[in-house]
């Protein structure tokens, strides 16, 4: 009877689960593949007791055990019989080896054990015969037959038995070697096509110096999907020693490998479950984000990197835009790296079949809109004159671009104001403009419809200073000047100010509120926005040389007839005006009754300590501040600015 001890390993349970969906695979003998990888092989044993009674009466042979395959067994015979001669006297002891007879040329009265050939037992022919254990370990096959040979031989004619026996008889035991059979694999978890060493061991490999007979009959391989030949076949196995067989092969799929063997005459099987991490297909896009249409390089690679580059091919590429259609052409199937012009956001997908695995991966390309910019030069003109309008796309699409329609001119009031319209195929267009207005252009770049406009401002008496002539400033200055009451008595005038901020490219004009301390000689002009400053603006409602109202300005009193007059040590602005420009790190504009001053920021400030009060510090512009101021007369010929 086969006795198997099943050991349960969790990995084998997993292996069984992995195979559950497939047709059951059976091994030799139609045994279901439910491997333990480890078994104790215990062939059948046999035992018999022979109890002879007289020397002339042998015990016929009988089959005690049978082995179909070669089996390593230990045969042992124990027991002694007490002999009595035919005179009733004691005749000694008889063991399983019986008695050697030179006349007979062999033993008589002995236990005989044989399979295909004789196993034993026979006493030695040298006297005195030493004590024997009557045990032998040997390979056997076939029926194990046991008998007792009549004897001991006596040359006398005893007229019956020469000896009679008493005792418990001779016990013969035939015990096969018990061996462990084990199947292991290393590693059991691996990347695609990594090599695994499957090891089959029998232990012990020898008993009493005799090798345990065993062989691998076959292997079966149950992959997790599809069908595959077993990686380990007959010629795959090598034998580093008597008790070991190994097979080292790459594995491309998960599955269960079962080894069928005959171990010490017994059919045995063991299995290992291999878990293979499938290969991966990776697709990348470089760069993954582009501004406007541009070339993108797509690359398909597989992991693990041990997969040879030329051992796999793509089945194809597909391009799917996020919206709409088009945007890129797919790469060719035989290109693992390719560059394509991409004009819309979308996905580039590649597919491949490697080792039976259907693989796919995608890379996304984001196309952000390019910057479409329309400019007018000059943007401010004193009257009808040529203005050049320019449309640009940044970055410029590699394959070029065009406007999608003609330019659109919209005057501030009425109609006209431009000599002729600009056509769609003119990215730069020069026309005579005679009214303030907007010129608009539109283009379609990839998925984006882009529109921008440029302002042309017709101003009287431009200064030529791009900041002073800026439309919001030219509108803010007269407003502040009017609020300053410049024609009122000096004591009733007040400085007024404001800021122009940059809000995403648009000018935001913010006049400051009139603070409690504002007077003819000062104005808080608080910065109320965190937006970038285009320019800070305020007005001095006096001319150079005008008498200042010392009481309102907070100056020390003078005697009658003496006056404070307005000077211009700092070029028109005051020292604190320069300081404010430095703090803002932005230009400022001051306008008085005579001039418009654009100045700052200065290179640096200088801390000047009051010589009569060291704790009082006044800051004044330093460095080459005088080069940072430009003044424009408010009355230029027939013009009055602003």
């Amino acid at each position: 009877m086969l006795q198997r001890r099943y050991l349960t390993y969790s990995i084998l349970v997993l292996g069984a689960v992995a195979c559950a969906g497939d047709k059951p695979v059976t091994g030799p003998g139609q045994e279901t593949l439910q491997p333990p990888s480890f078994q104790t092989i215990t062939p059948p044993s046999g035992t018999v007791t022979l109890t002879p009674t007289a020397s002339n009466q042998g015990i016929p042979e009988q089959t005690v055990v049978s082995y179909a395959e070669q089996t390593l067994v230990t045969v042992r015979a124990t027991g002694q019989m007490t002999m009595t001669n035919n005179h009733g006297g004691p005749a000694g002891q008889l063991d399983a080896g019986g008695s050697y007879s030179a006349t007979e040329g062999g033993c008589t009265g002995n236990v005989w054990v044989a399979f295909a050939g004789s196993v034993g037992f026979c006493a030695g022919n040298q006297q005195p015969d030493p004590a024997h254990a009557w045990t032998v370990t040997t390979l056997v096959q076939g029926n194990g037959r046991v008998s007792w040979i009549a004897g001991p031989y006596s040359p006398e004619n005893c007229g019956g038995p020469c000896f009679t026996f008493t005792g418990d008889g001779f016990t013969v035991t035939i015990t096969p070697a018990t061996v462990d059979f084990n199947v292991t694999a290393s590693p059991t978890t691996l990347n695609y096509n990594d090599s695994v060493t499957v090891t089959v061991t029998v232990s012990p490999a020898q008993v009493s110096g005799v090798n345990v007979p065993w062989r691998i009959d076959s292997t079966t391989w149950a992959p997790a999907f599809g069908t595959q030949a077993s990686p380990c076949v007959g010629t795959s196995w090598v034998a580093p020693d008597a008790g070991t067989r190994t097979c080292r092969r790459p594995f491309g799929r998960s599955g269960t490998l079962t080894v069928f063997a005959t171990v010490n005459g017994v059919k045995a099987q063991g299995g290992v479950t291999i878990t293979v991490t499938p290969p991966e297909l990776d697709v990348t896009a470089a760069p993954p984000t582009i501004q406007g249409p541009n070339s993108v390089t797509f690359t398909a690679t597989v992991t693990p990197s041990s997969i040879p580059y030329n051992s796999w091919s793509l089945s194809g590429w597909t391009w799917t835009p996020d919206s709409g259609t088009g945007g890129a052409s797919p790469c060719n199937w035989n290109e693992k790296t390719c560059s394509r012009m991409v004009s819309r956001s979308g996905w580039m997908k590649a597919a491949a079949t490697i080792g039976g695995y259907a693989l796919a991966d995608s890379a996304h390309v984001t196309v952000t809109p390019p910057v479409f910019d329309v400019t007018a030069t000059p943007a401010s003109i004193p009257g009808p004159q040529s203005v050049t309008f320019t449309a640009s796309v940044t970055p410029s699409p590699p394959n070029g671009w065009n406007l999608s329609s003609n330019w659109t001119w919209r005057p501030d009031s009425g109609t006209g104001g431009i000599s002729a319209s600009c056509a769609w195929n003119e990215k730069t267009c020069t026309r005579t403009v005679s009214k303030s207005g907007w010129m608009k252009a539109t283009t379609v770049i990839g998925a984006y419809t882009l529109t921008d406009s440029a302002r042309v401002y017709v101003i009287p008496c431009p200064t030529g200073d791009s900041l002073v002539d800026r439309e919001p400033i030219r509108k803010l200055l007269p407003s502040l000047w009017s609020q300053a009451s410049p024609t009122a008595p000096p004591a009733n005038r007040v400085e007024r100010g404001g800021y122009v901020y940059d809000s995403l490219g648009f000018d935001i004009t913010v006049p400051s509120v009139q603070a409690p301390g504002d007077n003819p000689c000062q104005n808080a002009n608080l910065r109320t926005r965190t937006l970038p400053i285009v320019v800070g603006v305020h007005v001095h409602p006096f001319s150079t040389g005008d008498t200042l109202p010392w009481q309102q300005c907070g100056l020390p009193p003078l005697l009658p007839g003496q006056t404070y007059v307005m000077g211009h040590t700092w070029g028109g602005p005051s020292a604190p005006d320069w300081v404010r420009s430095w703090i803002d790190q932005a230009p400022h504009i001051v306008m008085d009754a005579d001039s418009i001053y654009r100045f700052g920021p200065p290179d640096s400030l200088h801390a000047q300590v009051n010589p009569s009060n060291p704790s009082d510090t006044t800051y004044i512009p330093a460095g080459n501040w005088a080069s940072k101021i430009h003044s424009y007369p408010r009355n230029a010929g027939s013009c009055t600015r602003p």
Binding site: C521, N525, S543, L555, Q562, T569, D577, P614, A622
Partner: protein, 145 residues
Amino acid sequence: MTVAKVLITTSALMGFMISGVRDLRPAQSTLCWQPTVYTEATLAALRSYVSRTDARTAELRARVGLLQDSPDSVYVVSNEEVCHRGAVALAVLKGNPDTVNLHPVLTIKAGTMRYVLDDGATKGGEFMASYVADTSFRILGAIAN
């Protein structure tokens, strides 16, 4: 704009300061205050007021008491005795009866017959004032810059 409204603090600005050595000199060592940056700017402006011939500048001179003269006639005074007289004149102007413990003043000869005195401490609104005096150090008027 006024200094007070510039909304900066001394401590904040100290971190930004780039130029120069402070020009404070101990009062007891000299009464001729000559701060570098400020002196240069004031001197340049005074030369303009004194020497220019346009009507607006002439009107400024008339209002403040300056006389037309050559640019070379405008220069910084380093004579302690002259500076002392200037310091006394400003002390008196500001109602300070102590003409012994005086503060330094920037003293500029502004033409043959005039001086301009600046104590660096006279402010009104966003402007700082310099005073015009005759050779007797009688105050004639002031210029606010």
